[in-house]
């Protein structure tokens, strides 16, 4: 039996297609199905050309094939509105759900911070927070694992071209969800998130600022070390994740200035915000697959 877990991607848009391209290089995940709702969609046609099975009747069209094709993990890149139903149906068949929507039914997952715990617990639904969250929460956690953080604030600046209509119509969801995860996953007692959209041409690379206010005077050496270690962890799945400046210290303030360059698979390199979502999602599924291969966890039993 191959060690690879077989996967379905729901939502053949930019994110789904980028994810598919990354997955084709994966040692642990094998893309099998691409699921959409419009037979004429370019994303489904692209997937079909890449040799992937496609269906245009939503998750319901995939369900009859789940057991036969041994689908073990699904990535939902649709919307918060349909995610809950998608997740319920696929979880019932023993499929692990990686949620790239803002639905956040399952626990937040930021790979270098808490993925190992989710994998060990075999969480059947994990949520990938937001692009800004993936880019910044590792840095908040890098500080909070050294000493208590009273307040964590992140500023994500993204190019106008990389922000889709869904995010624009509900930009509050970004700020709320990210701020919540800065607290829950990042370990700050209070979290705040700000997003700025910049229309410059050529488009600017995603950049992020992370400010932490520590409760006591920061241990500069320990925090600097921790930050560099954390950057290296993120770089394992996003090679273009870069600490441009910092950490700098000013009283109890610790600030890091990051830039996120994407791999340029399907999405342009400047769209590091989208790349870090797809890369983190794939990394999440891979960790589950590794833990299964090592016998740490077992997949839900299925009758063959």
């Amino acid at each position: 039996m191959s060690k690879k877990l077989k996967a379905a991607i729901i939502g053949p848009g930019n994110i789904g297609t980028d994810l598919l391209m990354k997955m084709q290089r994966s040692e642990w995940i094998e893309p099998v199905w691409m699921v959409g709702i419009d037979p004429a969609s370019e994303g489904l046609q692209r997937a079909a050309q890449m040799g992937i099975k496609t269906c245009a009747t939503g998750v319901d069209g995939l369900l009859p094939h789940v057991i036969q094709d041994d689908i073990r993990v699904a990535f939902d890149a649709t919307s918060a509105y349909v995610h809950a139903e998608n997740s319920r149906k696929l979880n019932a068949l023993g499929v692990i759900m990686i949620d790239l929507t803002p639905a956040a039914i399952g626990p937040y997952c930021v790979p270098p911070v808490n993925l190992a715990d989710h994998a060990k617990n075999l969480e059947m639904n994990v949520n990938m927070v937001t692009c800004g969250g993936q880019a910044t929460i590792p840095m908040v956690a890098a500080v909070s694992r050294v000493q208590a953080v009273a307040y964590g604030e992140i500023v994500a600046t993204v190019s106008s071209r990389s922000v889709g209509p869904g995010t624009r119509q509900n930009i509050d969801e970004f700020t709320r969800t990210t701020a919540g995860a800065v607290e829950k996953v990042g370990g700050a007692k209070q979290g705040k998130a700000i997003i700025i959209i910049n229309p410059a041409e050529p488009p600017l690379m995603m950049r992020d600022t992370i400010h932490c206010l520590t409760e006591e005077i920061p241990d500069q050496q320990a925090i600097t070390e921790s930050v560099h270690q954390m950057v290296a962890e993120v770089q394992k799945y996003v090679p273009g994740y870069r600490l441009v400046n910092g950490p700098i210290f000013d009283g109890k303030r610790v600030s890091c200035f990051m830039q996120v360059e994407g791999l340029g698979d399907f999405l342009p390199k400047y769209a590091g915000n989208l790349d870090i979502m797809t890369a983190a999602s794939l990394r999440t599924a891979e960790m589950f697959a590794e833990e299964i291969a090592q016998g740490v966890i077992s997949l839900p039993a299925r009758q063959h």
């Binding site: 106008s160 959209i197 410059a200 200035f257």
Partner: protein, 342 residues
């Protein structure tokens, strides 16, 4: 120019844009005293919020002396005729802040986006209209988009429910001809019941001239700030604009001498630094940079030894937009490293 007999609604910014110049440290007492004096002078609309709008309290923009709730809660019950407005930048403030402001009695909400990104304002504008507020779509850094683009973006905000659209010269970059062109295009494109407004900064000393051009081209509302207290070289000095409009027989309903007294006796004494067109403020206007970057760039100069003017010019070259204050320290660090200063 003939503005005789025309009415224009002047909107004071000293207690919101002025928060930038005061590093958001205006006391509750100062807020209430100034708002009451403006109310008595006949100003119809006064903005009270953190400089970066509702929810602006942050490391990035500065923590204020008091919360938005405290400021609004202290000022609104004291007003006899003036209405209070609040600013909200989607991406910083949320609909929760908007509801709080409405509950406290804020009459006018101004939803501000970069001039090309109006579609992030949909949920906030829709809710404000549902709550029956005077709802303004506030297109910032308007010098960075063509008249056609501004019209397109203004139409989006109107489609969400905005009853007034602002052309906002956040960088104090525009010259009167550009104001005439852009306000003229908006006036021509939008239904007559949609009001237009202009918000100027005085970085090129064009605040008053631009405001006159805006009124002539069809603006019903003009922003200014008593004694110019605002970001950069400040906003259009309101008592000066009042005097000019009075000379032109343009009706504002405002008592000029009372306005002069607020400027001289209340605002000027509380300034941390003179609000004037110094080298750095002029650079903002000249290079087209967001006015509230001024004090951040000057602090970065102090800390890292890179001239504020150099930082501001580079920020302009990179096309930074409102809210990117975090870029200033980042850029100053990078420039200081390149120059071997750190």
């Amino acid at each position: 120019m003939n503005l005789q007999g025309q009415y224009v609604k002047l909107h004071d910014m000293s207690l919101r844009d002025g928060m930038h110049a005061k590093r958001h440290q205006i006391s509750l007492d100062e807020m209430v005293t100034i708002a009451c004096a403006l109310d008595a002078a006949g100003i119809p609309l006064i903005e009270v919020t953190h400089g970066d709008g509702l929810g602006g309290a942050s490391v990035n923009y500065g923590f204020p002396a008091h919360t938005d709730e405290e400021y609004l809660g202290a000022v609104i019950p004291k007003m006899k005729q003036a209405k209070i407005s609040a600013l909200l930048l989607p991406g910083i403030g949320t609909v929760d802040h908007l509801k709080m402001a409405k509950d406290l009695g804020v009459a006018t909400i101004r939803v501000a986006t970069h001039c090309t990104e109006a579609d992030v304002s949909e949920q906030h504008i829709r809710l404000a209209r549902q709550m029956d507020m005077d709802t303004v779509g506030f297109l910032m850094m308007a010098h960075m988009a063509t008249a056609e683009k501004l019209v397109e973006q203004a139409r989006l905000m109107v489609s969400y429910g905005a009853n007034c659209i602002y052309c906002t010269d956040s960088a104090g970059y525009m010259l009167p001809d550009e104001v005439t062109e852009k306000i003229g295009a908006l006036r021509q494109a939008l239904p007559t019941e949609i009001e237009l407004g202009f918000h100027g900064h005085h970085n090129m000393a064009m605040g008053v001239a631009n405001s006159l051009a805006a009124i002539e081209a069809g603006c019903a509302r003009i922003d200014g700030s008593v004694a110019g207290l605002g970001a950069g070289a400040g906003n259009t000095p309101l008592e000066v604009l009042c005097a000019v409009l009075k000379r032109m027989d343009c009706d504002t309903g405002i008592d000029l001498y009372k306005m002069m007294d607020v400027a001289e006796d209340l605002i000027t004494p509380m300034m941390d630094q003179p609000i004037r067109i110094d080298r750095d403020a002029l650079t903002l206007g000249y290079a087209g940079v967001y006015s509230s970057f001024l004090l951040f760039a000057q602090r970065a100069q102090q800390k890292y030894g890179v001239a504020a003017r150099d930082i501001l010019v580079e920020l302009g070259r990179r096309g930074t937009v409102g809210g990117q204050e975090d870029m200033i320290e980042d850029l100053a660090l990078t420039m200081a490293k390149q120059r071997g200063l750190i």
